[in-house]
């Protein structure tokens, strides 16, 4: 036996020695001959051999057989160099000096500004979200991840879906923009999510305030602008794989992305798949309107879901033109809480508790296909930006066919189907006549066509056309004082199509007779809207302090459901009635932002005052239609004020402390609910975070432990049919570290997270399920692994 092992060992060691003798490694570094600074991204190209220098200028080529090789080393801005080396034993590390290009430039003026500086100079009150923030704080959906930012919250529906809310306003009052194209997924009501893959996003700009000037209708409360990712480095290939597991809803998620670039051409691709079961809440039973639902194993039955996303883009970049075409598809199927879908209480013969992973009725299916092209052309002092987009949304809601009122039992489960096509075109020209001015002009055009299927009716089929033109100038009064002023005009037209019930209703006539009528729910109607928006702002930088003040007027064209709904919303157990006389919402807002940042300390405050001339909301009336309460779209004047406070310090080494608070006060000052707040008003809330960076332990690199403690006050400010919500405190802990498993590979990033550490039972006032007394998710342990290559 010993002989065998010995011979085996001998055999291996010998052969590996032989192998080692035959193959060598070329190592070297590339530096600037003048400054001796390393050069990153230089190409080292030989016959069948290839490398790119790292940020430290080094490169390695493995498995090179003995012999003589010649390489060409090239980099933009340097003269190419060809060297010949002998590869063999005892090779020395190469040091290659590159000379700067011989194109003589007598004077180079570098006018680069950091992103931070650009943001400081812009009077727009905005918040930039980095890839690092997204990776460190990733939650179940993109908007839940962003809700850590003061002033940003979400309206949640179950565990995987959420909509953005900025300073208490959400739905269509926040525009979501991806790659320059407005993401159209918000129009159909509140029980569905954003339809965006949250992986692979590097940069998000959040504008907390009216932004119609640049973004048009819908950006009345703010914008979530998901910006295009940085173009990959020349001759590079990189990628990452993300794995995610969660204990609360047994989620398993995997996402993989690659990107590569040759000289001018580049591509990116990503695939994401997530599958999760029912989520658990820290309660055994739910008590809603005298009904008691007992939960099996704390599972909120039928809230399982799955999601499969794919995206691919191809781009070309040269000195003057950058163009990228992106195709993406998001596909999801989510179940809804079976006992009270919306406000309607239901029992069912479906065995929901058989498995916590199956998706039974009621559920919805969503598919969002998007193709967009972003092209930017740089001419002398003009930069022209073209964004072209096409989006196709398919959404189906399925529920158990049940007769209701005069409607007999429907033939199938497809309650509603929406099919929407959206075409968008944006053209923008940024003109810099001199150092002082940056004049931006642009046109946005959008066309939408929405058709329907299914046995339930809520909003009519419609087409919508909008066109808007804007111009603004950012004027540098001096290097620390900037003025931005602009104006915009929009025209919109909505064509709603008529709709008749597919079943007759019984009408008792005044003469005592009875007739059976196929009721008309919507009319053929063409509605035109026009609106002016404007904005003016100042930014002043005084040493470490930045002052911003911005006044703006924004608008929003009413949605077709606000104009023309006329039907029973079975989920909400109510009758919803649109109003064809609604005017576009107009809002005036004054924003101030003061930020003081030094090396170890930062404090900021951003108060706002806002006035809505005609806020649109769904008002519960005291009348009935076929025994269901009538909710009518109504307009009223609304006054709002509030803001955010933030402070952070890193005065003690390795310890970061953050504190933030957000508050919004809202009052309707006219209309049937005068004196009330507006729906889904977020309560006063504060977030305290601490994170400590430990020293490397064993193979754990840069371990970082952090704790987030959220304290939210009770929300007593409500409007029918809401209920008051108690305050709560909830703790989240996370541990981030890197593991160096293989020397040759990038470290594996590990994130261990514990949400709701104490399994606290609490209600989020802005959660959709709050309406039926469903508490927030219980304790959740999640593990996220990211391997880049």
């Amino acid at each position: 036996m010993l002989h065998r092992i010995l011979s085996l060992w001998l055999c291996f060691s010998l052969s590996s020695t032989v192998f080692a003798q035959n193959s060598f490694q070329i190592k070297g570094s590339i530096v600037n001959s003048n400054t001796l600074q390393p050069i990153e991204g230089a190409n080292i190209i030989g016959e069948s051999l290839y490398a790119i220098s790292s940020p430290t200028g080094t490169f390695t080529i493995n498995n090179v057989a003995e012999g003589t090789y010649s390489f060409t080393i090239s980099h933009l801005g340097y003269a190419s160099k060809t060297i010949t080396i002998k590869v063999g034993p005892n090779m020395e590390e190469l040091k290659i000096l590159l000379d700067e290009s011989t194109i003589a430039l007598n004077e180079i003026e570098v006018n680069g500004k950091t992103k931070k500086r650009v943001n400081k100079e812009s009077p727009v009150v905005s918040h930039v979200v980095t890839k690092e923030f997204l990776a460190n704080n990733r939650e179940n959906s993109l908007m839940q991840t962003l809700s850590k930012i003061p002033g940003v919250s979400t309206i949640k529906i179950g565990s995987g879906q959420s909509k953005p809310v900025i300073r208490g306003l959400g739905f269509n009052r926040v525009a979501v923009v991806q790659n320059g194209i407005k993401h159209e997924a918000q129009q159909w009501g509140n029980d569905h999510g954003l339809e965006i893959d949250q992986y692979g996003i590097e940069n998000i700009q959040i504008v907390k305030g009216p932004a119609s000037l640049v973004y048009g209708s819908d950006a009345i409360a703010g914008v979530v602008d998901i910006q295009p990712n940085a173009i990959p480095l020349m001759h590079s290939f990189s990628g990452e794989v993300n794995l995610l597991g969660e204990s609360n809803n047994d989620l398993l998620g995997v996402s993989a992305g690659v990107q590569a670039r040759s000289h001018n051409w580049f591509y990116r691709g990503r695939l994401t798949y997530r599958d999760y079961g029912d989520y658990k809440v820290p309660t055994d039973q739910i008590n809603y309107e005298n009904y008691i639902f007992t939960l099996h194993d704390n599972n909120l039955r039928n809230t399982a879901g799955k999601e499969a996303n794919a995206s691919f883009s191809l781009g070309y970049v040269s000195d003057h033109i950058t163009s990228e075409t992106t195709i993406s598809n998001v596909n999801a199927k989510n179940g809804f809480f079976a006992n009270a879908h919306g406000l309607e209480v239901r029992t069912s013969r479906i065995d929901y508790d058989n498995s916590n992973r199956d998706i039974d009725l009621p559920y919805h299916k969503v598919n969002h296909f998007k193709i967009s092209n972003n092209t930017s052309i740089a001419l002398d002092n003009h930069t022209i930006q073209l964004d072209l987009g096409f989006q196709n949304n398919l959404r189906e809601e399925h529920s158990e066919p049940t007769p209701h009122g005069y409607m007999p039992t429907p033939p199938n489960t497809k309650e509603r189907g929406f099919h929407k096509n959206t075409f968008s075109l944006n053209v923008k020209d940024a003109f810099k006549p001199n150092d002082k001015h940056n004049l931006v002009t642009g046109v946005n055009v959008e066309f939408q066509d929405n058709t329907l299927s299914g046995w339930g009716f809520l909003i009519p089929e419609y087409t919508r056309f909008t066109v808007g033109a804007f111009a603004f100038d950012q004027y540098e009064i001096n290097s620390d004082l900037h003025l931005l002023a602009g104006v915009r005009y929009d025209f919109g037209q909505i064509n709603s199509k008529s709709y008749f019930d597919w079943y007759p209703s019984t009408i008792n006539n005044t003469n005592g007779s009875t007739s059976y009528v196929y009721l008309q729910r919507a009319q053929d109607k063409t509605l035109d809207f026009g609106n002016v928006s404007a904005s003016v702002g100042l930014s002043y930088i005084l040493n470490h302090t930045t002052f911003k003040i911005n006044a703006g007027k924004s608008f929003r064209i009413p949605l077709p459901n606000e104009l023309a709904s006329d039907g029973v919303n079975y989920h909400m157990y109510r009758y919803e009635k649109g109003n064809l006389n609604l005017d576009p919402e107009e809002s005036y807002q004054l924003d101030i932002d003061i930020d003081h940042t030094t090396k170890n300390f930062s404090i900021g405050v951003s108060p706002f005052v806002n006035f809505f001339e005609n806020f649109i909301y769904l008002n519960p009336t005291s009348n009935y239609y076929e025994t269901l309460q009538i909710y009518e779209y109504t307009q009223s004047k609304v006054f709002r004020a509030g803001g955010e406070l933030r402070a952070s310090t890193s005065i003690i080494n390795n310890l970061d402390l953050n504190a933030s608070a957000e508050y919004v006060y809202s009052r309707q000052t006219s209309g049937p609910k005068e004196g009330f707040t507006i729906p889904f008003s977020p309560p006063l809330s504060g977030l305290f975070s601490a994170s400590y960076q430990f020293k490397d332990v064993f193979f754990f690199k840069q371990p970082q432990l952090s704790a987030d403690y959220r304290i939210t006050a009770a929300q007593d400010e409500i409007v029918p049919p809401e209920e008051q919500t108690n305050g709560y405190q909830v703790l989240t802990m996370s541990l981030l570290t890197q593991l160096n498993l293989y020397k040759t590979m990038n470290p594996l990033e590990v994130k261990l997270k514990l949400n709701n550490v104490f399994n606290t039972k609490y209600y989020d006032h802005t959660s959709f399920y709050r309406l039926i007394d469903v508490p927030e998710a219980g304790r959740n342990i999640s593990i996220a692994l990211t391997q880049t290559f």
Binding site: R346, E400, S622, Y624
Partner: protein, 159 residues
């Protein structure tokens, strides 16, 4: 010292800006109306059996802190067992069946005069030609503000 005064100034500005909110004292109605069949005349009670051809007086008691506005009564079949009542009683349900000619009763009524208490009093004769079986009786009430309360009860219609 200079640093402290700078932060102090910032604090003052912050307070000035954030302290401008005023509380207007428009009194608003934050109470829902109530609806109850849990009293001796309340009708129907859970699992009540209604006979075809008979006339019944449907009764429920309503209250509100300010002003009642409207109420509704909805009788519909529960042949598919789609929901249960909120009275905590469990009635024996008949086997699931398809509806042929079920009773549909849906009526809304207004309460004039801004009353704070009211007793619903609706006389209904159960028609002879409708399907017998499990039915639902749902009452709902709104106040002038738009708050709503509901209650529902399982009943049966028999020959």
């Amino acid at each position: 010292m200079k640093l402290i005064s700078k932060y102090f100034n910032l604090l003052i500005i912050t307070l000035l800006i954030t302290s401008c909110s005023s509380d207007d004292s428009v009194s608003i109605d934050e109470q829902k109306p109530t609806i109850s069949i849990n009293y001796s005349e309340g009708f129907p009670q859970a699992c009540e059996q209604l006979v075809k051809g008979e006339t019944y007086i449907f009764k429920a008691q309503l209250t509100d802190n300010k002003a009642l506005a409207s109420y509704s009564l909805d009788l519909h079949n529960n042949f598919d067992h789609h929901t249960h009542d909120d009275q905590g009683e469990v009635c024996d349900l008949e086997p699931i069946k398809d509806a042929i000619n079920p009773l549909i009763y849906m009526e809304n009524f207004n309460i004039e005069g801004g009353l704070t208490t009211y007793e619903i009093n609706i006389s209904i004769t159960i028609p002879d030609d409708i399907d017998t079986g499990d039915y639902h009786c749902s009452y709902s009430v709104t106040d002038e503000t738009g708050w709503q309360s509901r209650t529902s009860v399982d009943i049966k219609i028999v020959e």
